[in-house]
Symmetry: D2
Subunit: 350 residues, 4 copies
């Protein structure tokens, strides 16, 4: 099988680096174009990244030699992964879609657009049908698909199976988010040493609205938001990778703890599709009383699983638990890759 | 005025060290006896502490020379501060009370006893009357007074004025607690580097029950617990001192944000008593969107204030905010000292 | 006594903030002007510092209200402390000196100038005489005095008494430097979590040359560099404040360990001058085998002392030891203040 | 090929865990026995490790089910890896050797014995001949082979090729060592947060003597120590894994920088032996000015390589550079495994 040629928009930032790292040796996709801002353009990727490559594994050799292009829709590929900064992502992604590219974006700009899926393949793969509206609107075969914010995704993965079976009504969540979520240079070391920062700009708003779209439905080619109330407090803690979230939920039906755990554990809607980035077990339950922990559990399912622990009764809502997911893999680049794999499996890349 | 002679039980642990540090130059109290386990007994305090003194300020010279005694009730003082480990605090404190000592304890053992005040002077100073029952029971002038757990106290200080004015019904709290709360050696560095530990043994239970006693009433010489539901999730983060807590509350009455802030800000029941350890402002409101932060705000009011920030509407309960308090000052040694000062001011030490 | 009016150049950066913090309630100096880049100019200091004040103590009230000026020599004061960034410090400081101001600078730009003292009052107070050359050159009463780089100063303080008595020939030093030395935002948290960075741009060069000027002599109104070879390796570690340095030295004379310690301990050339910022004991010796430690010892002498420990034989050079000093107090703002105090005591401010 | 059956002594500690992790799927060795102290004995390994397994990868399933044995020489294997604590390793390892087992030990106890090799296969594989003396002494086919201390090994790997070619005379080294080197619980988090500890008990002595044995020769079946003077200062920094060392060396011959680098880079004495744990490149040179860094480079060669950077002239000795090696892989378990592989390749396990 010939690999599908893909490009990376915003290839020099933290998420762009993850795309490059994760796509090395991908069985379906092959990076044929990397693009970034003017500053980096027309340098080799290695040159452009001098002092900026921040992953523990080295730059893949083939990519290191590639020339960085500008983010204009004349890249040699069919699909682009977008890790663009939100200050520029909006119009650039739009332009690529108009030019016929399929855009799998990690940027926030189009997440809430009325014809753009905010996709977690396990949860709302059916939302993809909405892209027909984009195609019509633009008179183009291109379209944009987005993945959720890094602190939304773990939360939604854990809540989705419960919502589908029991009807989730309320979600209270307090996050303890990793440094890599802020990009690079991101959080100053002087701000976080011996400290917690109880604020992340715009984050609580995303966590409170995005799950309602994801858990909602598409009716008559329109999104209907799920009727769930979410209240979020977002904190930055001194952890490299892995967002940990303390969650309490109220549901219409009242399962026993065992039923609830069973519902989470048996949740595996992508089983059978054999998507390379789909974890064998999307929700991993830890029974120890002190898990999940960011450093110990973030690599679960190669960073694509959502780890849930400390499931217990909540005296105010129904149940409470902790959720962990890797914010730059499942919460960013890995999510966009899985979205693309899902689209491929469903024929959207043909 | 002659200073009141006080002893320290459990003088070698982290909280014991704080007692010694904080009581240096105290205007009312003077340490005349320090006691610890057999292992340290009959050494000088300096000898006993070799490699174990963990505060940034040095051991006060006078204390360094004092001989460490065993924890038996023949110490040369009237009042003892107890920083005893909970494995031994129960019977030792009881013994001291029986022998006529007044015990201001930071240990958890007697906190929930039916005739022992769980005291925050700003909040429930009137609970002190219950000690008459202790005196009767023991046929002794000695008695025990306790202060709350380090993660309870900041929470209750912020909730108390709201409860008194608006009737708090529900409290949801997620803590991010400092390392010093676990004592020394406490949390292993390998467990916390690049990590969060989402569990602290016994902590959630304390946070869920202690506030109900503190915010309750004494009727007919009996405690009546406050009718508040509390749900807690307790986490350990990589911070030296200062417990940060994300709190949501539901109240019977529904104040505006401005009223609520005004209620917190104007709360100062100890004003006029001139207690040395009472902060000028028990509840400090920060209006910046990223405060309170442990490292920046824990020394507020010399570590005795409770700092509240990010006060905003909660879409599930009524309001949510962040609370910070210094866990080994207001949350431990400083609390017990303020309790003793309050008792002195109210004539309980006569 | 009327206080001397002083200005702060570069008042918004990390070192500028320290100047403002340390000069609050200074018995001799009073801040009457604060100046910074155009971006901050004509705002109140509080406004200019929104989100940028990074010290644990609050902005002094009087300063908060002051208007930030531009760095032009029409400030209402006689003496200016310069915390200017090295990209602009050179000409601005020169301009102020030409206009008649005395400039006590922490910036590197003029440190090696042939008529500018690189001053540590305990060590080379006599170098001040060289400013007569500046006055002549500029036909102005203004002049510039500098303090050493933050990693130079602790090293030189420990080496100076040994050099004066025994003749130091070689110094090998490996530093472990704090984050605050890089300013704000400075080191990215993603770069330093679970890491050490074995490089600080330009630092080794400074450490290898500055001590030779400081320990040198002024002969015929010219600097003669000390004949010492220094080899430095500079590392950044995950510590907020306090530079720790592992030092080995070779000397012409060979004192015993006791003699060497006695020489360090008895070193106190400023004794009697009663300078407010001079520590009672400039060099504090710690005998424990695991000191000095940055967090435990950096506040020694209110951050103005140099703490030396683990003094022992070196099998290659003669002796080795660890040195610690607070990089933003003794290593920056505090150093410049002590320089100004010394100049005042010696009549240079008249 | 049938795998060689191996046992792990001290299987529950940090190094024991690493042995178990690293030997999973080893092509030559298969764990058939795990042994630890009485406390763990006769439990399953999973039970014994409850709350104690500290690696990010899970316990291999087969091992989890195995019963933990006591450390007595009736284990079902031919070779044992020893991760025993030094308080007990001495006599237990001796006993195993006497009973005919081959012991590949990471413990310090026998490292300096006159008939025990202190082995780094790349460096002194020929020292293995000395085990004939052990066999004679004990009248047994068993023998002990040791690997160096975790801070010795990176240093020696970098120095060895230079010594062999240019004759190293003096080595000055300042280490910045990782937390995992202290075992578990090891360093208290309160001791290392915002701090460096400039002391590690016994470490400097090991670093100053072990390289002399390793770089020495075996003559007439006796060790002759290398004539090298080493001076070490050992510090603990807030890093999980990876010891970083600042090194200066003096040599008899004076290579150019290019020659020196070439000597390091081309060093590969094990090439051709195809040992599974031998890194493709034992010494990896980094040319960037800020490398090696612990978090970025410790996994080089799967944790078995030694990474050298910042090679430059030293103004006191000849050259200085930074060395990094993974302290629990190349510095402990991985070293002992490579030693066993080398023995296998050389026929010592037949």
């Amino acid at each position: 099988m010939k690999k599908i040629e893909v490009g990376i928009l915003g290839a020099t930032g933290m998420v762009g680096q993850r795309f490059i790292q994760l796509l090395e040796n991908h069985p379906w996709f092959k990076i044929t174009a990397i693009a970034a801002s003017e500053r980096s353009a027309s340098k080799s990727y290695r040159e452009a990244m001098e002092g900026r490559w921040k992953l523990e594994t080295p730059i893949p050799l083939e990519i290191a030699k590639m020339e960085v292009k500008e983010c204009t829709p004349n890249l040699d590929c069919r699909l682009v992964f977008s890790a663009l900064d939100s200050t520029v992502a909006g119009p650039i992604e739009e332009e690529f879609a108009r030019a016929g590219y399929i855009v799998s974006s990690n940027s926030k700009n189009h997440r809430l657009d009325e014809d753009v899926p905010l996709l977690i393949p396990e949860v709302n793969g059916d939302h993809l049908t909405i892209v027909s509206r984009q195609k019509e609107r633009r008179k183009s075969n291109g379209f944009i698909v987005t993945n959720p914010n890094c602190s939304t995704i773990g939360l939604v993965m854990a809540v989705a199976p419960l919502h589908q079976r029991y009807g989730v009504k309320k979600v209270m969540v307090t996050t303890m988010q990793a440094l890599s979520g802020a990009g690079y240079p991101g959080v100053a070391s002087l701000d976080i040493i011996d400290n917690v920062i109880p604020y992340i700009g715009g984050e609580e708003e995303k966590v409170e609205i995005e799950p309602r779209k994801i858990l909602g439905k598409v009716k008559n080619n329109q999104f209907v938001m799920a009727d769930i109330i979410i209240s979020a407090t977002c904190n930055r803690v001194n952890v490299k990778d892995g967002h940990l979230e303390a969650v309490s939920i109220e549901m219409e039906e009242k399962p026993t703890r065992e039923e609830l755990i069973d519902t989470l554990r048996s949740y595996n809607p992508l089983k059978g599709l054999k998507l390379p980035f789909a974890p064998a077990q999307p929700i991993v339950i830890r029974e120890e009383n002190d898990r999940p922990q960011p450093r110990m559990d973030r690599e679960e399912g190669k960073g694509m699983a959502c780890v849930v622990g400390r499931i217990r009764k909540c005296s105010i809502l129904d149940y409470k638990f902790l959720v962990l997911s890797h914010n730059t893999i499942r919460g960013a680049a890995g999510a966009a890759i899985l979205n693309a794999e899902y689209m491929k499996a469903k024929g959207y890349l043909d």
